[in-house]
Symmetry: C2
Subunit: 210 residues, 2 copies
DNA sequence: CACATTAAGTCAAACGACCGATTAAGTCAA
DNA sequence: TTGACTTAATCGGTCGTTTGACTTAATGTG
């Protein structure tokens, strides 16, 4: 008999892949159990139901581990360092097998953000909210504001939006400008440019309020 | 008996709504025919099958009508005017009933871009491509370049990404910063800021190459 | 003009396939 | 012996699609 945890972990990994690829509703328990090479009923044995598997996938400790921006102390880093961490959180690099799983995890999050399954409630906006609040905090520091206003709010989304072009719009980028994804040092160059753009927007906003 | 075209048009409109809300695969022919108040078999009578209805929805003449950026002559407008048209194309205003249908249409496109159904092939990247090429053309004009390079490519996606924060990320914006969507003159202010951000990025890029 | 025929449109019912979930039975290490 | 794990089979529900029957409008004919 195989390791008992083996089947459970294989279901979680297969679940992550299938849910990330097609979303909760289009994912089938048969496809997940096929990929995991585990009997269909095992999903119900370990997770009660399909929704339970979905929640368990989200509870995997990827978010914690990859959230480099969460671990940054806003008061003691440069703007560039903070922005770099922010975009590394949004767009983790992909090289090792674990990083591939991390990317699936982020893809799953992006999908749930853009098109909520209804299984998690608003828990996922809560996933973004801490880093979004922290980004606004950073912008307030840079702009000399006590608290955020609508300009800070929209600037925060503009900064996030530039990164999400490679999350939600990744397929379009791959079709229209594949070099941005697959070129030499593409990840590094992409990150540098994103950080540069964000700094430029922040500098311009600062200029308008001086 | 009702107007024969009535049932067909009602199926197209109901199809647009349901496909925009949940995507091709999660949409059911029963839900669509329910909303259209038409018999289920009528979908097959008019469109052959579910995929045929989906294609017919995409063939509705909304894209043509709303593509203000496509009608702009790059050689004879200011940068601000061009950018304004670009973001008006990405984020059409929503006031009349027709504009509500247009927004559903854009939402449907955004969904198909981010998560292709497989029904349309690459036809949808083709929908974006002309405006994306035109945006690059505009950037080349502004930056004094004969043709686009990777910097122009990524700048184009950054500009698109800031807008798509209100398309793919709209739910997140509504949760975290509802004033950006629902505040007084929110659409106008949003558009102005997006155009301002885009100009700032372009000016900065021009500065780096002078 | 009346009637027959045809075409277009609509409907309820049913089909085979697939879904998530359940169950009884079997295996095996502790 | 027992609890954990695994399995094949099965269930009721829903899916997209098909079909034969019915209704109504349009057309043809004497």
């Amino acid at each position: 008999m195989k390791q008992p945890e083996d089947a459970r972990m294989r279901l979680l990994h297969a679940g992550m892949e299938v849910f990330a690829e097609v979303g909760f509703h289009a994912a089938t328990t048969r496809e997940i159990s096929r990929r995991a090479e585990v009997n269909l009923a095992a999903i119900h044995y370990y997770f009660a139901d399909k929704a339970g598997l979905y929640r368990a996938v989200f509870a995997l400790p990827f978010a914690e581990k990859s959230n480099v921006f969460a671990h940054v102390d806003i008061e003691s880093v440069t703007l560039e360092q903070a922005l770099s961490s922010f975009y590394q959180w949004m767009l983790p690099p992909v090289a090792t097998a674990e990083e591939v799983m991390l990317q699936k995890f982020m893809q799953l999050h992006a999908r749930e953000e853009a098109d909520p399954s209804g299984i998690l409630g608003d828990a996922l906006s809560e996933h973004i909210k801490p880093n979004h609040e922290k980004l606004k905090q950073l912008l307030c520091r840079e702009l000399g504001k006590i608290e955020s206003d609508l300009a800070v709010e929209q600037l925060a989304f503009a900064i996030m939006g530039m990164g999400s072009a490679f999350v939600h719009g990744r397929r379009v980028v791959e079709v229209l400008s594949p070099e941005l994804i697959h070129g030499k040092n593409a990840g590094e160059l992409r990150l540098q440019r994103l950080v540069g753009y964000a700094k430029t927007l922040i500098d311009a906003e600062r200029g308008q309020h001086e």
